[in-house]
């Protein structure tokens, strides 16, 4: 879908921003470009829609060299989302979303109705259509930015640190919604971030760049955490990569104890009439399920379950079925044994 072949970008001042980059971005997947500042990740992204032109090498988009295409036409076929949204301040939200359809010469009514659908799709009320960007919060502007990128339904989207200008709570929300949206849409996405956690959370494939525009490693997030190719990557992904890697392992094969099994703790699990956990109690003391520990399902990650055991007063996480009925418990020791038994893959 998008292919870099020996692409080098040298700026007029002699700086080599990207050095002999060869990389394939798989169709329908999110490929994250991550690395410290000055590593060439943004320059690489901007070479896909010809905002930056390669000094040598070739960038192919859908099989065609970008340098042989009209830049404006090329860009209209590629969705683009940037940090701080980059909306047009003099146009209303609906007209901002319809920017590319207008440029493509769509009938105005069709462009607007598409824009209104997308407004809803990115989770903004229809009443926002007539507002101007300055009347929206940063997070809302970013949603409009995503809607604008989707308006002409391009097969490819470029996202340049789209969520880094919003606060952490909003960022987590936007990330979750973005993943949900991508599940429906299956776009080929190139996503730039400097945040390794975001890269690991969002990427199907993560390309780690290092200073000087070199590619340090391209791998799935789990493999990146399990087997960093070199010290730079190991250092960049961080020291707690072992714990973070648990985020990719589901709790579906984790063995549990029956709910009523005797345990080495004074805390007793309170269940309601239907068998749903209410909280923990010990000699008149109580802790609600929210404040102490919590429940998980087989769809949650081992990292989540481990965290639950650490915050539960009894040192135990409670598994529930789809009706919320408790059907098993697990403690840290059981999780540790489970991880130990599961051979760690270091197959490179």
């Amino acid at each position: 879908m998008i292919t870099f072949t020996a692409v080098t970008k040298q700026f007029p001042d002699g700086t080599v921003a990207v050095d002999e980059l060869t990389l394939d971005l798989p169709e329908g997947k999110i490929t994250v470009f991550v690395g410290p500042s000055g590593c060439g990740k943004t320059t690489s992204l901007r070479m896909i829609n010809r905002m930056v032109e390669p000094t040598s090498g070739q960038v192919l988009v859908q099989g065609r060299d970008v340098m042989t295409q009209d830049p404006a036409e090329l860009r209209r076929g590629i969705g683009y989302v940037i940090q701080a949204a980059g909306l047009l301040p003099h146009r209303t939200v609906v007209d901002n979303i319809a920017t590319v359809p207008y440029l493509l010469g769509w009938d105005k009514r069709r462009a607007r109705s598409t824009a209104l659908e997308l407004l809803e799709r990115v989770g903004l009320p229809a009443a926002y259509a007539k507002r101007y960007p300055s009347q929206l919060s940063g997070g809302q502007q970013q949603r409009v930015g995503v809607a604008r990128a989707l308006a002409a339904d391009p097969p490819i989207m470029l996202m340049d640190e789209p969520f880094s200008a919003v606060d952490p709570v909003v960022r987590a929300q936007l990330q979750a919604e973005f993943l949900r949206l991508q599940q429906d849409l299956g776009k080929t996405i190139a996503f730039v971030t400097h945040d390794i956690d975001e890269a690991v959370k969002l990427g199907d494939l993560v390309a780690v760049f290092r200073q000087g525009g070199h590619l340090a490693q391209v791998d799935t997030p789990e493999q990146l955490l399990a087997a960093p190719a070199n010290d730079f990557v190991a250092d960049f992904v961080g020291r707690d990569r072992g714990i973070r890697r648990l985020g990719f392992r589901l709790a579906d094969t984790l063995p549990v104890q029956p709910v009523g099994a005797p345990r080495d703790s004074e805390w007793v699990l309170d269940l309601d009439d239907l068998g749903r956990p209410r909280g923990w109690s010990r000699r008149g003391e109580t802790a609600s399920m929210q404040s102490g520990g919590g429940t998980f399902t087989t769809g949650d990650s081992l990292r989540t379950v481990l965290d639950l055991t650490l915050t539960s007063p009894a040192g135990v996480a409670v598994r529930v079925d789809q009706d919320g009925v408790a059907d098993g418990t697990v403690d840290h020791a059981a999780i540790a044994a489970h991880i130990q038994g599961d051979t760690v893959r270091v197959d490179r």
Binding site: N49, A72, I82, A85, G86, P89, R91, T99, L103, Y132
Partner: protein
């Protein structure tokens, strides 16, 4: 006063009409010249310093001197209203070139970069993104130029063409206050009306600049 107005009404009205034309025509001509010149200076940065110096120098030329010198340069009669129009156009250009450059510079680079990245071509970018966003700054300059032209037209009266300015020379020569007062009141009113009209145009063109940001 009333007697003056009743006898000289038609003359006053024609002076007012001439004043409007002499003040506004240069604004339109000046804007038409300043827009492309300002755009060039915005696009090619090296043009910016010389253009700015040139416009400052032009603006510093005394108006009366310009009114007198222009006929020699243009080959026109000293009483030709064209002299006034050309002179005031020069001032308007001098004022507006800077305004247009500032206006285009007021467009955030993030906005132009994003607009380019979604597929605007240079001309579309200028007409549909940069100029609309620059409108508040450009119109602010246009208000200054318009009001200043309204007052400068009167200077032309010393040469015999000056719209309402003719009322001042007339009153002074005859030692008669009524035409002077009429001229002053009408000049001020004219400036006010034109200024308000531009503000009105701006309100229509830039609804986005008035919304409260959160």
């Amino acid at each position: 006063m009333l007697q003056y107005l009743s006898t000289s009404g038609p003359a006053v009205l024609s002076a007012l009409g001439q004043h409007v034309v002499l003040a506004l025509l240069p604004v339109l001509i000046g804007l038409a010249i300043a827009l492309p010149v300002g755009y060039l200076a915005h696009r090619f940065r090296w043009l910016y310093p010389p253009l700015l110096s040139l416009s400052s120098v032009l603006y510093a030329v005394p108006s009366l001197a310009l009114f007198v010198v222009l006929p020699v340069i243009l080959g026109t009669q000293i009483l030709d209203p064209l002299n006034i129009v050309v002179a005031l156009s020069v001032y308007t250009v001098a004022l507006l070139v800077r305004t247009v450059i500032d206006g285009l510079a007021s467009v955030p680079t993030a906005v132009t970069a994003a607009a380019t990245a979604v597929g605007f071509r240079p001309l579309g970018l200028l007409l549909r993104v940069e100029l609309p966003i620059a409108v508040p700054v450009i119109l602010a300059g246009l208000r200054v130029a318009t009001v200043s032209n309204v007052s400068l037209v009167s200077v032309g009266a010393l040469l015999g063409v000056g719209g309402l300015g003719a009322l001042f020379t007339d009153g002074l020569q005859r030692n008669y206050l009524a035409p002077i007062i009429t001229g002053i009141v009408l000049s001020v009113l004219l400036a006010l009306v034109l200024d308000t009209a531009i503000v009105g145009v701006q309100r229509v063109l830039t609804p986005w600049s008035r919304v409260g940001s959160r």
